[in-house]
């Protein structure tokens, strides 16, 4: 196999990025999705639209704004500099921030659909049995929304693995820090190293297919989500 050490380190970095991003997204996405599924607020439409933006925006647009916002003159960049963190572009942390935005809808939307599908009645029943909110969430919502969580995690992970435009804009192609698989494929194609590009690109196709196949065949009943 003509893959080099640089290729393997890109694969490892990608897996780290996708795992961390998925974890953070499940933590941050769950309350957002819960709020979206329950609220009658007029802000629901606005928040829903903002969450869905990365679905329709070209990644380069998102990447460009992140680059400007996180740069030394940007609002986020000023804040991180004041906190003594420096600026985020060209760092692994910066990629995580970018990926969280980029994959947000892929996690929030399946969760929101799963929460909405639960309906009011199980929650009301729990309330009559004097279950507290945390107890209700753990013993009612989590088990009922489990397929939604699985879908959200798988899609969030797979979508982050496939991320390219955002990383390209804010990454700086630094080995072991910001050079992920999709960027490495682009490097190989640009350098006319088609054999290595094929190995990595083929691996990416196979990985994505297997992940999605597992997801779709694991659904026994029609399920909330995508």
């Amino acid at each position: 196999m003509p893959l080099t050490r640089a290729d393997f380190s890109a694969i490892w970095l990608t897996l780290q990025l996708a795992t961390l991003t998925t974890g953070l997204l499940l933590l941050a996405g769950t309350p957002i999705a819960w709020w979206l599924s329950r609220t009658a607020s007029r802000l629901k439409g606005v928040v829903g639209a903002v969450v869905a933006l990365p679905l329709v925006l070209p990644p380069t647009v998102l990447g460009f704004y992140l680059l400007v916002a996180m740069g030394p003159e940007g609002p986020v960049g000023r804040l991180t500099q004041q906190l003594g963190l420096g600026t985020l572009p060209f760092t692994f942390a910066g990629l995580v921030v970018g990926s969280v935005f980029y994959s947000l809808p892929f996690v929030v939307q399946p969760l929101q659909n799963a929460f909405e599908a639960i309906g009011r009645r199980p929650l009301e029943a729990a309330a009559t049995l004097r279950a507290g909110p945390w107890d209700t969430f753990r013993s009612i919502v989590l088990p009922l929304a489990r397929p939604g969580f699985v879908t959200a995690a798988v899609l969030g992970f797979a979508h982050t693995v496939g991320e390219f435009g955002v990383v390209l804009m804010i990454g700086g192609n630094i080995p072991e820090r910001t050079r992920v698989v999709s960027v490495e494929i682009f490097n190989h194609v640009e350098a006319l190293e088609y054999a290595q590009a094929h190995w990595l690109a083929g691996g990416m196709v196979a990985f994505s297919f297997v992940v999605l196949l597992a997801l779709y065949t694991s659904r026994r009943a029609p399920m909330a989500g995508f």
């Binding site: 680059l67 030394p72 572009p89 060209f90 390209l168 700086g172 192609n173």
Partner: protein, 252 residues
């Protein structure tokens, strides 16, 4: 003649006109660093010859892959010598049509005034966190920049501070947004009418790196297209060469 036949004939004659007009159209694939001068040259070319230029801008490696796979381009203005030479070896160009249309100059540039001095001594200070360089494996300006650092004996020392743009445009963007304090860009990106557009700059002496030759070829698809040859010839003419120089490129 039946009115219906008349209509068909009319439509057919329109189609015929359209195809004969298409013969005077030249589809050109242009390396993105040459975007601005190419637009200026294309406008003059259209005025002078009546031919029409359909320009696509992008990365040289991508264009090479697309041309190999049948992309509809008549002329290719690459950012390097390698891709046109490869196409020539693969017999995908009109024999003898390869020539150097521009030679790039390298500049160390910062968006801040007074940051880069006229000798590049700033590279030896430790005041900056990020030095932007185009990917040396794929971008000719990137490999030239690495040769310069090598010559100055700074390659090892500065390696941890280098951030790579995928191409020279992205590299310039890193510097323009201040995310990298300074970077090696193409002089053509920061020059208009022979003047720096802003910030501070060191024009890197040409002897510090191998020349950045950008070659053009007439592709196979353009062999019977008079507009393709006309465009290639026009590039060598006085109007085009004057424009190319005004954008900060050299000729040789």
């Amino acid at each position: 003649m039946d009115i219906r036949y008349a209509r068909v004939a009319f439509v057919l004659s329109l189609v015929a006109c359209a195809t004969s007009a298409a013969a005077d159209e030249v589809h050109v694939a242009i390396a993105s660093n040459f975007t601005a001068p190419a637009k200026a040259i294309a406008a003059e070319f259209e005025k002078d010859t009546g031919h029409k230029v359909v320009a696509s801008f992008g990365a040289t490696g991508q264009f090479y892959a697309q041309i190999k796979n049948g992309a509809p381009f008549d002329v290719f203005l690459a950012a390097d010598e390698a891709a046109p030479a490869k196409l020539e070896a693969e017999r995908r160009i009109v024999p003898g049509s390869r020539f150097t249309y521009a030679t790039g100059a390298l500049a160390l540039w910062s968006a801040r005034e007074g940051y880069v001095d006229g000798q590049g001594a700033v590279l030896r200070t430790h005041g900056f966190r990020h030095l932007a360089v185009a990917n040396p494996r794929t971008a000719p300006y990137g490999s030239a920049a690495m040769q310069v650092l090598d010559r100055l004996g700074l390659k090892q020392e500065l390696a941890p501070r280098i951030v790579e743009g995928q191409n020279i445009s992205q590299t310039q963007q890193f510097v323009a947004t201040g995310n990298a304090e300074l970077g090696f860009v193409a002089r053509s990106q920061i020059y208009r009418d022979g003047k720096v557009i802003g910030g501070s700059v060191w024009i890197v002496p040409g002897e510090l790196h191998a020349p950045i030759r950008q070659d053009a070829v007439v592709l196979h698809r353009g062999r019977d297209n008079p507009a393709a040859r006309a465009f290639a010839d026009y590039l060598k003419g006085p109007k085009a060469t004057a424009l190319i120089q005004s954008f900060g490129y050299q000729l040789q």
